[in-house]
C-alpha cells in the first residue's frame, strides 16, 4: 500500500525538477525573512536568483545545531509568530535547547509524511494505533498521532511509560499497531511475559519504532515477544520529527520523503559531498517547511544512501540505519544527550568540578546511564549523610536539566582519566553495530 503514489513513485527526473523548484522558493523565503540566512548568503555572494535547480544546492552554506542554539529561541523562524501554531523543543541546558516551530501547513505536511510512513507498515483506517511515544515537547507522540489520525486510524494517545496500563489497553482495546522507542517495545514484550498475558489474545500486527538506534537482533527479539512486524522510522525534530524516512515492507532501508526533505551525504571533516552509496554524514534541506526552513542542516548521523528503485515500487531514495554520529551526542531512552550538558550542570554546582564519566549500558533492554563524578578534596566530608546528600543533589540537578534519570556515583579524585586532547567522557557498553 502506498499513501501518496504520485509523490512516492515519481520519476526521478520529475522529482528533481520539483525539488529544484521548491528549493528556489525556499531560498527566496529565507533570504527575505531570516536575517541569519540572509547574512550568511550575502557573505558568500549568493543571491536568491543564483539558485535555479537542484544542482545549485551545493553552492549553499551548511547550517549546524550550534546555529540553532545561537538563534535561540525564534531567530531562525521565517514567518511572524502569529503564523506559528506549534512549538517543540529538545532537552538542553537553559537557553541551549533546540526550538522548532510549525505553521498550520507544516503540521499538515508532517501529518502527510507520517501517514505515508504508517501506510508503509500496512496501517489503514481499520487499525487501532497505540501511540506510546512521549507526548509533549518531544516530537514523537504528537507527530505519530497526527499521521495516524490523517489515515483515519483510531488513535490511543497513551504516551510513554505506565507499562501496566499499556498492556491492559493492548489487550482490552485490541490495538493492532504500536509506536514507541524500540527499547520500550522490548521492555513491553518482556513485561507481557512476566504478567503472564497470553500473546494470542493480542491483535498487534505492526510496530513503528524509532528515536534511537537499534539492531537487527533487537528487531528479531521484539517481533518474537510482541508477535508483530517491526518497522524502523527515522526523524529528528530540527527537520520535522518522526516521518523524515521510513521502512517499507521490503525493509531494505528507510525511504526519505524527498519531495519535502532533500538529503545529501558529506564527509564530516571536509564537508565535501560524497557519491551515492558512500558512508558519510547525512544533511537535509527542508524545502517545504514554512515556520523554520533548514538549509543544508548537518544531522551528524552517519549513514549511506541508495538510489536504486525499491521492489515496493517507490522511487524515493533509501537510507541505511545510522551507524553512528560524527559528534559526541548520545541517545538514551530516546532522549538526546551531549556530555557537555552534564559538564555545565557540574560547573554550576559549587561543590563539583567537571571531572566526570558517562557510562551507558543496556539492562533488560532499557538504556541505563551512570554518571561518575569525582569527589573534590575540599568538599569531602567524612559524614556519609553529607556525601549522600551531595550525590542526590547532583542527581536531581542532572535530572531536571537533562530530562533523564541518571544514577550518580561518587568516585575518588584523580581516578577519571585526564588527557591533553579530547577527554574520554563516555563509555558506551551497549552492543550496537
Amino acid at each position: 500500500m502506498i499513501w501518496n503514489e504520485h509523490h512516492e513513485c515519481m520519476e526521478r527526473q520529475q522529482l528533481t525538477e520539483l525539488q529544484g523548484q521548491r528549493l528556489r522558493d525556499m531560498v527566496e523565503r529565507i533570504y527575505f525573512n531570516v536575517p541569519f540566512y540572509r547574512n550568511r548568503l550575502q557573505e558568500m555572494g549568493i543571491e536568491p536568483g543564483d539558485i535555479r535547480s537542484i544542482e545549485d544546492l551545493q553552492k549553499l552554506p551548511f547550517t549546524t545545531k550550534q546555529d540553532l542554539r545561537d538563534n535561540y529561541p525564534f531567530g531562525l523562524f521565517a514567518v511572524p509568530q502569529h503564523d506559528v501554531v506549534r512549538l517543540h523543543a529538545s532537552s538542553g541546558t537553559t537557553g541551549k535547547s533546540t526550538v522548532v516551530g510549525y505553521t498550520h501547513n507544516d503540521i499538515m505536511m508532517w501529518a502527510e509524511v507520517v501517514a505515508r510512513s504508517l501506510t508503509m507498515a500496512g496501517i489503514t483506517r481499520n487499525d487501532i494505533v497505540q501511540v506510546a511515544y512521549g507526548y509533549g515537547l518531544f516530537t514523537g507522540g504528537l507527530g505519530v498521532h497526527y499521521g495516524a489520525e490523517k489515515i483515519g486510524a483510531s488513535v490511543i494517545p497513551i504516551s510513554g511509560g505506565n507499562t501496566k496500563k499499556q498492556l491492559q489497553l493492548l489487550e482490552d482495546f485490541g490495538s493492532t499497531a504500536i509506536a514507541c522507542t524500540p527499547s520500550y517495545a522490548a521492555y513491553l514484550g518482556e513485561a507481557l511475559v512476566e504478567e503472564k498475558i497470553d500473546r494470542s489474545k493480542l491483535k498487534l500486527r505492526a510496530g513503528i519504532f524509532g528515536a534511537e538506534p537499534w539492531t537487527e537482533e533487537m528487531r528479531t527479539q521484539i517481533q518474537h515477544l510482541l508477535g508483530l512486524k517491526a518497522y524502523d522510522i527515522y526523524g529528528l525534530s530540527e527537520v520535522i520529527g518522526p516521518g523524515v524516512s521510513m521502512e517499507c515492507a521490503c525493509q531494505k532501508g528507510m525511504h526519505i520523503f524527498e519531495d519535502h526533505f532533500i538529503p545529501e551525504i558529506i564527509d564530516p571533516e571536509t564537508c565535501e559531498v560524497l557519491p551515492y552509496g558512500t558512508l558519510g554524514e547525512l544533511v537535509f534541506t527542508t524545502v517545504t517547511k514554512e515556520a523554520m526552513p533548514l538549509m543544508r542542516y548537518r544531522t551528524r548521523d552517519l549513514t549511506r544512501l541508495h538510489f536504486e528503485q525499491c521492489d515496493c515500487g517507490r522511487t524515493l531514495v533509501r537510507m541505511e540505519k545510522c551507524v553512528g554520529r560524527s559528534d559526541d551526542m548520545l541517545i538514551i531512552r530516546g532522549v538526546n544527550l551531549f556530555p557537555s550538558q552534564v559538564e555545565s550542570v557540574l560547573l554550576e554546582m559549587s561543590e563539583t568540578r567537571p571531572h566526570y564519566l558517562l557510562v551507558v549500558d543496556r539492562e533488560n533492554n532499557l538504556d541505563t546511564l551512570e554518571i561518575q563524578v569525582e569527589v573534590e578534596e575540599q568538599f569531602f566530608s567524612d559524614e556519609v549523610k553529607e556525601l549522600e546528600g551531595l550525590r542526590k543533589r547532583i542527581q536531581s540537578n542532572l535530572a531536571s536539566t537533562l530530562g533523564l534519570h541518571a544514577a550518580v556515583r561518587l568516585v575518588e579524585p584523580g581516578t577519571i582519566e585526564r588527557s591533553m586532547g579530547k577527554a574520554q567522557r563516555v563509555v558506551d557498553k551497549r552492543k550496537l553495530k
Binding site: 578534596e377 567524612d382 559524614e383 556515583r409 568516585v411 575518588e412 579524585p413 581516578t415
Partner: protein, 136 residues
C-alpha cells in the same frame, strides 16, 4: 585531648583498602583504631594513627581524598554500664554524636572514639565528671 582522626574517601573497589594500609605500613605509621562507614558505592574510612600529619601527606600524594577530623576518645573500664555512663554525661549536657566506634585493649580497658560538633565542650564536661580521655 582532641584527637586528629584521618578520614579517607574510598570507592568500593577490590584491593583499595589494602593499597591504603600498604602506604601507611611503608611509611612506618601505626594504626591504633579504625572504622569504615559504607554505602553501596563508596565508603568513608576513619582511622587513628601514630602520625596523622604524615599519614595525611603520604595519602594525598597517592591521590586519596583525605581530611583531618577532630574527635575525642573516652577511656573506660571494660565492664557493663561503662559506655552508658559516659554517653549519659554527653546527653545530659546536650551534646549530640555524629558517629562513634569503639575498641578494647588488653588491660581491661575500652576506648570509645566520638565525633561531635562540639568537641571542646564535650572534653570539658567529661573532665568535670572525671572521665579519662585518650591523649593525642
Amino acid at each position: 585531648m582532641i584527637i586528629r582522626q584521618l578520614s579517607v574517601f574510598l570507592e568500593n573497589r577490590a584491593g583499595r583498602l589494602t593499597e591504603l594500609t600498604g602506604i601507611l605500613a611503608d611509611n612506618g605509621i601505626n594504626i591504633s583504631a579504625f572504622s569504615i562507614a559504607d554505602t553501596t558505592d563508596f565508603g568513608v574510612l576513619r582511622v587513628i594513627t601514630s602520625n596523622p600529619e604524615l599519614a595525611e601527606k603520604v595519602l594525598k600524594e597517592q591521590g586519596f581524598a583525605v581530611k583531618i577530623t577532630d574527635v575525642i576518645g573516652i577511656i573506660m573500664h571494660n565492664k557493663p554500664g561503662a559506655l552508658h555512663h559516659a554517653l549519659q554525661i554527653l546527653t545530659d549536657n546536650g551534646i549530640s554524636i555524629e558517629y562513634m566506634y569503639a575498641f578494647t585493649s588488653a588491660e581491661g580497658q575500652a576506648t570509645a572514639v566520638i565525633r561531635t560538633d562540639t568537641p571542646k565542650k564535650a572534653i570539658e564536661v567529661l573532665q568535670l565528671h572525671e572521665m579519662e580521655l585518650l591523649k593525642a
